[in-house]
């Protein structure tokens, strides 16, 4: 006890520690870099999607930093894995905003996770830019001051495109739905019903299934018995492949028009030889004829990530392209705002007038009425062939 610190030196140490903590919690303006966060599924069945998003953001950041950064500071990306778990996603978002003081953060793959983060982003007044999750309610969240933007597909528009495709390509008259049993499935259930009602088309049945279901034969049998002549599928890679395998077991050859779940991973490997039967929606593809920007980005991608040996390793292009354009648009907003304060960046988003991006040339991409940069004209249909996502030629 005699070796213990004297009371005076104890007080000094404690004061010093408190001071250090207070200083380290100082606002973002005191930092030497501009930090952006990323909350996405970096492990599990959507790991490849998370990886694609990280790559798209990193490529864009490299370009921005090569030109001197934003507001004279270099840009830094801080990524966190949400493991497709909404609770973990919210925790990660909190940490990024409150500890890391990010100016804005990008959000990942799963709709349920993004939906959980939206209230926090609006309450913390930090822009949250979605780059994959398509749930309609993510951007259309009813907040008076909406801090959620998105460069990605929107379920209600995707569903219109799916219905149109089913009718045009397959002449479907009574499609059925096989949907994953979560918030994303529900978002699309609403969208598909609305789109079908608009075209005065009836639906055969709506069946739900769980991510860990091995055997989807019961649900598919009910759809077949209800007279479905085409199937709308909304699920991630692993459950989508179980649907395809179950259809094989039933020897039921029915057109499958899907949301982009299969794009998130190794669909060809998991679904087997029937994988090419699934036609799904994308916002971008690195295959086929590329614009000069597309060629340049692809080359930069291959240079930065030498593990890309074939086009099959570039999958999913959607993650890369959405994230790449989203980062550039965000950088434009921060530059326009001249500050890293959330409310100012939000206003600056609305002032972006034109940007020549990878997916398209954006003109006035964001407004308080519509915080989604992409719309149905930007969608395309694709399919998997031996691990590569190829565009379907109409």
């Amino acid at each position: 006890m005699r070796d213990f610190m004297s009371r005076r030196s104890l007080v000094k140490t404690v004061t010093g520690a408190v001071a250090a903590m207070v200083l380290s919690a100082s606002p973002a303006a005191a930092q030497a870099t501009i930090k952006f966060g990323l909350v996405a599924a970096l492990s599990g069945q959507s790991a490849k999607s998370g990886e694609a998003i990280t790559r798209g953001l990193s490529l864009a950041i490299d370009e921005i930093n090569a030109k001197g950064g934003i507001l004279g500071k270099k840009v830094e990306l801080i990524a966190r894995d949400d493991e497709s778990n909404p609770a973990k996603g919210v925790l990660a978002a909190r940490e990024l905003v409150q500890r890391q003081h990010v100016a804005a953060f990008f959000g990942g793959v799963d709709t349920p996770v993004s939906l959980a983060i939206v209230p926090f982003a609006n309450q913390a007044k930090v822009p949250f830019i979605g780059v994959w999750a398509a749930g309609t309610a993510i951007t259309k969240n009813g907040a008076a001051e909406n801090y959620v933007f998105r460069v990605s597909a929107v379920d209600e528009l995707v569903d219109v495109a799916l219905v149109d495709y089913a009718a045009k390509k397959y002449g479907a008259k009574k499609p059925g739905m096989i949907l994953i049993d979560n918030a994303w499935g529900e978002s699309n259930e609403a969208g598909l019903k609305a789109a079908l009602a608009a075209k005065k088309m009836p639906y055969a049945a709506i069946e739900k299934f769980q991510t860990e279901d091995v055997d989807v034969v019961p649900q598919l049998t009910r759809l077949k018995n209800a007279g479905a002549d085409a199937l709308f599928m909304v699920a991630n890679v692993a459950p989508s492949s179980q649907v395809v395998k179950s259809l094989d077991r039933m020897a039921w050859n029915v057109p499958i028009i899907s949301h982009w779940g299969p794009a998130g991973g190794r669909f060809s490997e998991l679904a087997g030889p029937s994988a090419p039967k699934v036609h799904f929606i994308e916002t971008y593809s690195f295959s086929g004829k590329l614009s000069p920007k597309g060629t340049a980005v692809l080359a930069a991608l291959k240079k930065k990530y030498p593990d890309i040996k074939s086009m099959a390793d570039v999958t999913p292009a959607v993650g890369i392209a959405n994230a790449y354009d989203a980062m550039h648009l965000t950088a434009l907003a921060v530059a326009k705002a001249g500050s890293t304060e959330g409310p100012k960046i939000r206003q600056a988003f609305y002032q972006i007038d034109s940007y020549d991006g990878l997916i398209k040339t954006y003109k006035m991409p964001f407004s308080p009425a519509n915080q989604d940069a992409l719309s149905s004209g930007d969608y395309m249909f694709t399919y998997f062939k031996q691990g590569e996502i190829l565009p379907l030629t109409n």
Partner: protein
């Protein structure tokens, strides 16, 4: 058609629950302890099988054998590090230790194997056979045969062979067993190795039907434990019977009510069954000699 498909599904999944539950049974009858990292051992079998057969390209029988040997080694490790230090001192901490060991393994595999689910191809799960108007994979028919076969072999081992009887003697009175020249530690370690080999085998068998990933064993482990308790953990036949019954029940609920209700119904029925038969189907209340 839905009925037949549900029965086949139910029997194959159920026999896998039974096989994993046999692992719980075998360590319980020898040492009154249970290996709660069984679920992770299932995953280990599948992951090792994938690594040897697909990544390394070894012939399938060799890949299987190597995977099972390593699973057995995992069992020995669990017994030595997570169970023996506690059980020997009459502490129940092996419960938590084996749970933790399973989580540790899951996360180690996550780093080593990768974050994505992979496909384990099998000649028995390629083209479906048409059976009574519904398609089944040959593998789904092989699985129950293997599961029940192993349960039978285990019963023969315990009833008819000397080693088996020695293993049973250990738990009844370990001091007397020692005095009779039975190597108590060796028997307990062997039972753990056996439990993880069963789990690994189950993993290898179901891998082609699902996909191989680091968290594939968790729910299976929990269900298998429920099955083990349901069947009477002290009875090998009870455990297998409970597995088949549970698997069939799950399949019927999924087929006729929808998979949303499967977990609720499944676990509810376990609670109900235990309320009616507290010792499980074929279990007996333990008799303590004073």
């Amino acid at each position: 058609m839905l009925f037949i498909s549900a029965i086949v599904s139910g029997l194959s999944l159920g026999s896998m629950y039974g096989l994993i539950a046999l692992g719980f049974h075998v360590t319980y009858v020898v040492s009154k302890t249970v290996n709660f990292s069984q679920g992770s051992a299932v995953m280990l079998g599948a992951v090792l099988g994938y690594t040897f057969a697909v990544t390394a390209g070894l012939p399938l029988p060799l890949a299987f054998a190597l995977a099972l040997i390593l699973c057995g080694a995992f069992g020995l490790l669990v017994e030595r590090v997570l169970v023996r230090p506690f059980a020997g001192r009459n502490s129940e901490a092996w419960l938590m230790a084996t749970v933790a060991g399973g989580i540790l393994l899951d996360n180690t595999v996550l780093f080593a194997f990768g974050k994505e689910p992979r496909n384990f191809p099998s000649a028995l799960a390629n083209a479906p056979l048409m059976l009574f108007g519904t398609g089944v994979y040959a593998l789904q028919l092989v699985i129950p045969v293997v599961g029940i076969g192993i349960a039978m072999m285990l019963q023969l081992l315990f009833r008819r062979t000397r080693t088996g009887k020695q293993m049973l003697a250990v738990v009844q009175n370990s001091d007397a067993a020692r005095l009779m020249g039975i190597d108590v530690q060796r028997m307990i370690a062997a039972s753990y190795a056996a439990s993880t080999i069963f789990a690994g085998l189950a993993g290898l068998l179901i891998a082609p039907l699902v996909s191989v990933q680091s968290d594939m064993g968790m729910v299976l482990g929990i269900k298998a434990f429920a099955v083990a308790v349901l069947g009477g953990i002290a009875s090998g036949w009870g455990v297998m019977l409970a597995g088949l019954a549970y698997g069939l029940f799950e399949a019927m609920v999924t087929a006729f009510a929808g998979s949303v209700y499967t977990q609720i119904a499944g676990f509810s029925i376990v609670i109900l069954a235990l309320a009616v038969m507290p010792n499980g189907f074929l279990g007996r209340a333990s008799v303590f000699k004073v």
